[in-house]
Amino acid sequence: MKNPIIFDKVSLTYDKGSDIFVVQDFTLSINQGEFFCLVGPSGCGKSTVLKIIAGLEKPSRGEIKKPETVGMVFQTGALLPWLTVENNIAFAAKMEGFSQEKVESLTGQYLKMVDLEQFRNKYPRELSGGQKQRVGIARALSIESEVLLMDEPFSALDPLTTEELHNDLLQIWQKTKKTIIMVSHLVEEAVLLADRIGIMKTGRLDSIVSVTLPRPRKEEQKEFLPEVEKVRKILHNQ
């Protein structure tokens, strides 16, 4: 199996020569088509790992293998308020260098996938939080990268919308067979979505838990809570 992303003892520090590492000796291989979730307390470096994959940060030490193009969904959506829903998606595809016809067909395709066709001419401020994140997902998909990064994309949404988006994201993942790496601060979310969960503590990858629950998963399932507890125990050093 091909590994689109391989970290080999990657470390990152903001001050050269300093011993304070934001990410330290991070080694991890992510499988193609895998849904990988990074969890950990605030400031543990999980978002920084995502930034390294996105090319927003350069490792101070170690090696990383990653595709040149990666799509990313941001916590705040990061949509451009002066562009319509359609143009926000098309903009990313256009910057990727695709032809006009391809930009149009990709935009139409992903607008449909995130179920926002009737909102194509609306502006971001006219959308709900959930709809904005859908646009963010469509935009990240439109550049046709095999890897999709998600930085706590649902943390600002209400539980009902989050549940809806979880289901939609899983459907999109199954349809597109993308490799998804998501940062979350909710263990339940990670167990619900991920194949494997990476638990981070103070810049280091503490351990990896494979979620063995069959899909589709539901929080009401009796096997769900023990799985959550298993991850929590590692997280809290018990």
Binding site: K51, A54, G55, L56, T69, V70, G71, M72, F74, Q75, T76, G77, A78, L80, P81, W82, F91, A92, M95, E96, Y123, P124, R125, R139, I143
Partner: protein, 271 residues
């Protein structure tokens, strides 16, 4: 059959709109070019001599056009200079640490303090018009620069990251992300700049007070000089008429340009 009809109707409709659009753009371009030619000719041979004892409505009209043109030219220059300056200040934290205090000091020195030197310098070269525009430019520049710096610093981190992830670099970044993102700040900065310009115009056109042994005839015809000179000569009716026209022009500008622009900026604001 109905399909053909529909198609024909649609075709006809779009054909008509295209013609209308073409006509509208031709008319628009013609008017703009005509105004530009008028302004260039007018400014190349400025009719700045005026007799304060014989001021007609035509003179006040001409004065309004002169003043507006001076403000507009100075504004365009300050806009063109302020964008790279603001980008330079915010380029790296280190540059900002050095440049921001320097610019802060420069902008807090009152523009009018060095106006006499500017006037004398330009007067030697008989470029009175440039003296006025230069001083207006200096008074407008900093409002724009500091508004833009505020705007650049208010661009959300996620949006900056998104522009890296989606490969928006260089000139594309400037036109597709940076300038639209700071558009509301450019607008408020421009509003302040024009306000400042209107205050300074009262002085910028009255050059004779800054030239050693200067005479009223050395003043530039404009709303500012009309106000000052008519008041000094006790021409109360000219003073009042000029004041009313000035208020009208400012109100019209506010209504036609600034209110519309401010409303339009809503679309460019981040949540």
């Amino acid at each position: 059959m109905s399909k053909i009809k529909h198609y024909h109707h649609h075709f006809h409709f779009s054909y008509q709109t295209t013609i209308k659009r073409h006509l509208a753009s031709i008319v628009g371009v013609t008017i703009t070019v005509a105004i530009l030619i008028f302004l260039i000719i007018h400014f190349a041979n400025p009719n700045n001599t005026f007799n304060i004892n014989q001021i007609s409505w035509t003179d006040i009209f001409l004065a309004s056009i002169n003043t507006l043109t001076r403000l507009f030219v100075a504004y365009i220059f300050s806009l063109v200079f302020s964008i790279p300056l603001a980008l330079l200040i915010t380029s790296t934290p280190r540059v900002e640490k050095i440049l921001l205090p320097i610019f802060d000091i420069i902008q807090s020195i009152p523009v009018l303090a060095f106006f006499p030197i500017v006037v004398v310098f330009f007067a030697i070269n008989h470029a009175f018009e440039l003296a006025a525009i230069f001083i207006l430019f200096m008074s407008m520049l900093w409002n724009l620069v500091f508004s833009m710096v505020g705007g650049l610093k208010a661009i959300p981190e996620d949006v900056k990251s998104a522009s890296v992830v989606f490969k928006v670099h260089g000139i594309k970044k400037l036109f597709y992300i940076t300038l639209p993102a700071i558009f509301p700040f450019i607008t408020t900065g421009s509003l302040l700049a024009w306000g400042q310009g209107w205050s300074i115009i009262i002085v910028a056109e009255v050059l004779h007070t800054y030239i050693p042994n200067g005479m009223v005839s050395q003043d530039l015809l404009g709303l500012g000089s009309l106000l000052v000179d008519s008041f000094a000569q006790g021409k109360n009716s000219v003073f009042l008429a000029t004041l009313v026209i000035m208020i009208l022009v400012i109100s019209l500008l506010n209504f036609v340009v600034w209110q519309k622009l401010l409303h339009f900026t809503e679309r460019f604001r981040f949540d």
